[in-house]
Amino acid sequence: MKTNKNTIYDIAIIGAGVSGCMIAREMSMFDLNICVLDKAYDVSSGASKANSAIVHAGYDPIPGTLKSKLNARGAKLMKTAVKELEVEYKVLPSLVLAYDEEQMNTVLALKERADDNGVSVKTISREEVLTIEPMLNPDVVGALYADSAIVCPYGLTIAAAENAAKNGVEFKLGYEVSRIETHESLFIINDDIKTKYIINAAGVNSAEIASLIGDLSFSITPRRGEYMIYDKQNLCVNSVLFTVPTKLGKGVLITPSVSGNMLVGPNAQVVQSECDIQTTSEGQNFVFENAKRIIPSLTKRGIIREFAGIRATPSGDDFIIRFSEISSKFLHVAGIESPGLASSPAVAEYVLELLKNSGLRTIPKKSSTRYRKQIRKISEATAEEAAEMIAENPLYSHVICRCETISEAEIVEAIHRPIGARSVDAVKFRTRAGMGRCQGGFCSPKVAEILSRELNIPLSEVTQFGGNSKILCKKQ
């Protein structure tokens, strides 16, 4: 879609996280002029890239809330979305583990809540738990069992964004929204973007964005969660393992990731700044000690990476998806903390309904597609497929990331796709190059060289994740 200074967008979505991108994708099925704005240099740069990556079954939210409605619906829609978008997704059981009678009572209460939410779960005995998870602490007394799933959260976000971009949605990254003015029936963002609707999907910054139009109806508390990732060879669980939830959240969990690593975390620490994604020794110890209660034999050996993400905890316990009281064309999609990932397809569907009901004309766009192909991976190809891929594109035979077996072809494609990778991390999140046990020790310079070549920029300008995160410095 060709746009210029005078373009009037139908919708500007602020925030290119999983909510923003899934909404963009849903709305891109219609003949609408849409842009997505994010201050980060890539999509999926906030909570969407740093979370537990679980498609929660939907038993947990309080019945009657928006969370409960969208979680169950989202988990269902997710199955279709991941097929259409070719996103890594895996069905597996989730267990909420009880270690004493009191905790078992909580499990039973969760079971009742699940029934109210219409989500099928069952309680299982100690023996059944230990059959599924032999490594578990034998003190376990029972568990809540649910059919659950895991998904690649940034994979989903990037896929949705690529799909939306293919359907004509414009992405403006590294674009910080600092002013919103209202002129007749239009919003003007930062003096340069005119739009009829604004969708505020700005995650931890959504209250700030709301305040730009004078809407102070909610606040967001940034809550940091720290995680650790284990090497694939240290994966020792088959399901998502929760301890019983407390007021602070779902607690420390252990889960396989879609790539076969093991993810452990999070803690829940209220922080002052929404940018404070540092890891701390206290947080890491807390996570480790709690994880050790689930699997007593767990050691720190095999940890390859630590990270932290910020959850956007809203005032009031529910998702905030409604039009602003200040403006009927300003739609909040805020406070999307857990189970926000699981809910995201349903959030998009719900937003579509709200927009339709508000009078937005939605004429299906013939040229739009719901399908997006993933980058073909040499590591997942059979010998015959690999031979054919290499014949088609010889760069498939040049392996750049040794740990994850990622070829040059995959990296080059990640750079040249819609919303192409512009940094070493952007390549990493699209291909997994650098996500293995050497954490980019061998491949990051090669990836930087490929970025420099493909984007025709000096190597010294290549960044880790945009902005001033330059990897090298110029010689004096």
């Binding site: 540092q278 010889p394 040049h398 392996v399 020790g441 190597l459 960044t463 902005g467 090298l472």
Partner: protein
């Protein structure tokens, strides 16, 4: 492309080169080296400092020179090799699947395989340094690649964590590139580097070596802005109140090497939890018949000279296996290591001969300890060492007579007497 080969050597670094040369010299013509890099020589190519070859050649060579000696020899012997070729898997029946920039997909049916895949560096994640995650935190080897291989500059003001040889060498390298190295930190109360490197890389450049110190925090949003360091106690835990903020734009980590054994694992090779490399017998053969391991993929060495020596034995063993004159050792005994001996390679022996050295490492530094080897509880080897340190690999060669005693014994033990 489908091929049949007598011997496939995975890796064309110093270990792979020496193994392939030895195999060829021992009558195996049909050898091929598969190297993932764009040229032979492995990590030596970026080690442009000198200090290699003192044992092997009696002279001081740079890394590329040392590799060059072996490359020339391989060339002369017409050892076949492919670069830019990544082995994806080796199956239990020794089918090697690789992708090659030049040849595309390769499926090689091998009769024997030597794994010489080298090692990788431990990372920030592995040692769990808290803080933000900005650009400017490198492993020493990655920084070395940027500087020595592609002529770039990683930063202006650096702190280095880890005083192993790579950390020391990189401290000097950064100074020569015009950067300022604020300090080299070492978690342990002693350095793991060679004495000559401490003198030539730190003392000559007035770089402070801070023992019993570590990095406890990384700061900076986009590019590194500084690190918080602290002194550590006897249990290596940071001592509260000793924290100091050091402004820097670069943090280099030289915090250990780990053998790379993904291909070995895929083939079903048994690994040692202590070395991270394969469990091998005196022929450097793994639990899979005809699959051998050597070099830093087997266990991390201090000197490349020892890598070449060990790898040549692996090549020779592979040749013997292929020539059918391998001595059958029906009974392998696991060498028991205790009292300060962390590991011993080989881990198992059937028939030991005087030319096969035992390599081991001690757990802690000690003075005046005695290395003891027992056969069924009787001391068969005894040597007092003035100074032993975990950073120095110990090599013991045994006499004919001692070997005989060990070969006849049911139980072999290596230990340290620190009295």
């Amino acid at each position: 492309m489908n091929l049949n080969k007598s011997l496939v050597v995975v890796g064309g670094g110093p270990a792979g080169l020496a193994a392939a040369i030895a195999a060829k010299e021992n009558g195996i013509n049909d050898v091929i080296i598969l190297e993932r890099g764009s040229c032979l020589g492995g990590i030596l190519n970026q080690c442009i400092h000198s200090g290699f070859g003192l044992h092997a050649f009696g002279e001081e060579l740079t890394g590329p020179e040392y590799a060059g000696r072996y490359e020339e020899k391989a060339e002369k012997l017409k050892v076949d090799y492919l670069t830019d070729t990544m082995v994806l898997s080796v199956s239990h029946d020794k089918t090697v699947i690789a992708v090659s920039k030049e040849k595309g997909l390769l499926i090689i049916k091998a009769e024997a395989v030597v794994l010489a895949t080298g090692c990788r560096e431990r990372t920030r994640g592995a040692i769990n340094i808290p803080g933000t995650r900005p650009a400017g935190v490198f492993t020493a080897g990655t920084a070395q690649y940027y500087i020595n291989m592609i002529g770039n500059h990683v930063g202006k003001k650096a702190v280095i964590l880890g005083s192993g040889d790579i950390g020391l060498i990189m401290a000097r390298r950064l100074m020569l590139e015009g950067a300022k190295v604020e300090m080299v930190l070492e978690l342990l109360p002693y350095s793991n580097g060679l004495g000559r490197n401490i003198a030539q890389c730190l003392e000559d450049f007035d770089i402070p070596l801070m023992l019993s110190h570590t990095v406890i925090g990384v700061s900076g949003k986009e590019r590194l802005e500084g690190v918080t360091i602290a002194k550590v106690d006897d249990r290596l835990l940071p001592i509260p109140g000793t924290e100091q903020f050091i402004e820097c734009d670069t943090l280099l980590l030289s915090v250990g090497l780990i053998p790379e054994n993904e291909i070995a694992t895929g083939a079903g090779v048994e690994l040692s939890p202590i070395t991270g490399g394969a469990v091998v017998n005196e022929n450097l053969e793994t639990n899979i018949e005809g699959v051998f391991a050597c070099g830093n993929a087997l266990h991390v060495h201090d000197l490349v000279d020892y890598v070449s020596d060990e790898a040549a034995r692996a090549g020779k063993s592979a040749a013997a296996y292929l020539n059918g004159d391998k001595k059958e050792s029906s009974q392998y005994k696991t060498i028991i290591t205790k009292n300060g001996v962390r590991y011993c390679v080989p881990q198992k022996i059937g028939t030991l001969t005087p030319e096969i050295p035992l390599f081991f490492r001690v757990a802690t530094p000690s003075q005046g300890s005695t290395i003891l080897i027992y056969a069924d509880g009787n001391v068969v080897y005894k040597k007092r060492e003035a100074y032993l340190t975990p950073s120095e690999m110990q090599m013991v060669k045994l006499s004919d007579e001692t070997c005989k005693k060990l070969n006849e014994a049911k139980e072999i033990t290596v230990e340290l007497n620190t009295k």
